[in-house]
Symmetry: C2
Subunit: 410 residues, 2 copies
Amino acid sequence: MPILCRPSVAVPEHVITMAQTLDLARRLHADHPRLDLALQLIAHTGVRERHLVQPIARTLTHPGLEARNNLYAREARRRVPPVIQGALRSAAVGATDIDAIIFVSCTGFLMPSMTAWMINNLGFRSDTRQIPIAQLGCAAGGAAINRAADFCLAYPDANVLIVACEFCSLCYQPDDVEVGNLLANGLFGDAVAAAVVRGGGEPGLRGVELERNGSYLVPDTEDWISYAVRSTGFHFQLDRRVPTTMAMLAPALHTLARSHGWEAGDLDFYIIHAGGPRILDDLGAILDVEASAFRHSRATLTDYGNIASAVVLDALRRMFDDDALDPGARGMIAGFGPGITAETCIGTWTSCPDRPLDDRSEEGRAHARQNPCEAEPHSAGRPPVRHDGVRHLADRSGTGRRGALPVRPR
Amino acid sequence: MPILCRPSVAVPEHVITMAQTLDLARRLHADHPRLDLALQLIAHTGVRERHLVQPIARTLTHPGLEARNNLYAREARRRVPPVIQGALRSAAVGATDIDAIIFVSCTGFLMPSMTAWMINNLGFRSDTRQIPIAQLGCAAGGAAINRAADFCLAYPDANVLIVACEFCSLCYQPDDVEVGNLLANGLFGDAVAAAVVRGGGEPGLRGVELERNGSYLVPDTEDWISYAVRSTGFHFQLDRRVPTTMAMLAPALHTLARSHGWEAGDLDFYIIHAGGPRILDDLGAILDVEASAFRHSRATLTDYGNIASAVVLDALRRMFDDDALDPGARGMIAGFGPGITAETCIGTWTSCPDRPLDDRSEEGRAHARQNPCEAEPHSAGRPPVRHDGVRHLADRSGTGRRGALPVRPR
């Protein structure tokens, strides 16, 4: 069963606080007829601060689409490598062990994708599969996890690297002054994140065993969250009905959990896309779970703002560091974004607490490889490599749930 | 084993001939210092005509990125549904049988992706996985086939719909006058294509059993084929070294074939991305195969121009219609694009010639379901649906090659 290892996350060095955000909104939009509403909405996000790839003054200028997209490329190449290194280290794999890279980002557009640059510059193999996804917005964090799990179902010994690169501040549009835009200007932040999904397992590996995933499109809500593509770049368009989405999405979460014999409201952990505070409040009420169940997602929102597809990876990183789960704990990871789309998976926390791999030295990892943690049923170790270079296939019979599509209405 | 069924392809009604293209180039670039070279290169493409979503005169104007991208959306919504219907019909499935949609297109950018529109408007289930890919360019046709095959390896009963939507004429940039741009202006055409990859098989189904796939990035060629993203949209940039790429890509094709016990130069069919005539000439020489081996790809290039990610689907469609293969024929499908990336797969032609499914009536399909073609070992029929709505998993043991990653240098 694929294991999602500890994500690595980095936020840029330039900080904007809530007070600065409100101050800016007052100054830039003093004559806006609905300024008070916008200020209220921003204050209500609970975002304490956000991190930006540029100083605030420069963030507020628009140098043109070409310059911005070039800046996106430069910043991505500068900021992505360290999180990749962290993600590989936590998964105890090297770059050459990676079989596919899923790169998700909706705040810049490069062709070739960053995946090509990464293969050329960061030691990945030339035969690494490239899966760049730009059009799922915030839901792409969940989608990346799900597609990585699927890839590992197809190739049980594969390792997939997920990278989420979101510089939302590079989509700031000075002339967009709808209330939804002013809110977005006070909500979104910049971050890069990476994580490895390991198909083959590893003694001592901590992570979430990804057991089942599902996607759901809320019918006829395509224009609720969207981009207008203009000469000035991507223009974020937010419908006022978006905060009410959870009631429409929750049934899909129930369906997914029940198809696995679980109850969505009765899980041990929740990693939910923190698009805004209302999402977490409403989903908590609908699933009837305590507010603390979403504490990692809320912490991401508070500390970094809505960092788009990187939210779920950062909230996951906090859960790993919190280290409060017992092996076997069951949980859910849900990304929400344009469509309106939910990309959700459910899985089980697995760990070998005596020998955590994260941030361990190469010697420690070698030791763990030679001394598998026998107590951990999921630590079956990596299958041996045949002399022809092809790894043995894991025996796929008897894995009742693997590869079953979730129950669906026909 | 996943089966790639007959693609459905459509080209727009507006036609530009080679003579018109050359005439236009002479008229628009009369003072260009290298006009003769550009004309030579265009004439050498062998493209007889191309199809455009707009009349020529309108194609030559640039109404701004926003208007163009809106036009892309309108044309996609108008032209994609018929090819989807055709693809579903050839695969003998309905929209509700589709579990994932892989939508590839590099000539417009929508968020939400067209996948959301398709689910809302064309009868697909709300839980259909959405996999939009915009950043693999011409290689995305091969990538879509490969990711669909992978999805069916993970979920053996799944059906994946591939859609390639390329309106290259909407990336025409009047001010780009490098020789590479003039050549591109005479080479690329518009088309939409769709095909279904069926995991579960079906009695009487004709198609290519997808046995193994691989990706390869030619090191340090990122800037050979690329987009510059500007206020006027995507600007195609073509390096003069691109036509020499085949010598660098061919070893990856050999590696993939050999990892399967096959020889790349000794196959029964070839579906190769016809980026230009030199690609086909060089690859033919390198693999030492007769020119006729690439006849379907060459026909696509001649009749439609380079239609980007849709090339391999159109060449495949021609191979289905040609109907010259015996069951068990072995072949290769290769998409090439920015990176420079090759997305290649190898597989076997399978068919039940007495009962071709394509374009058959619903009655005929029902008859085929009740009377499976016993002679066809791959026509195991679709597994029964359990009372809980989850299809039985195919027995995955004993499938020696399934899910093995190709040999790779470590």
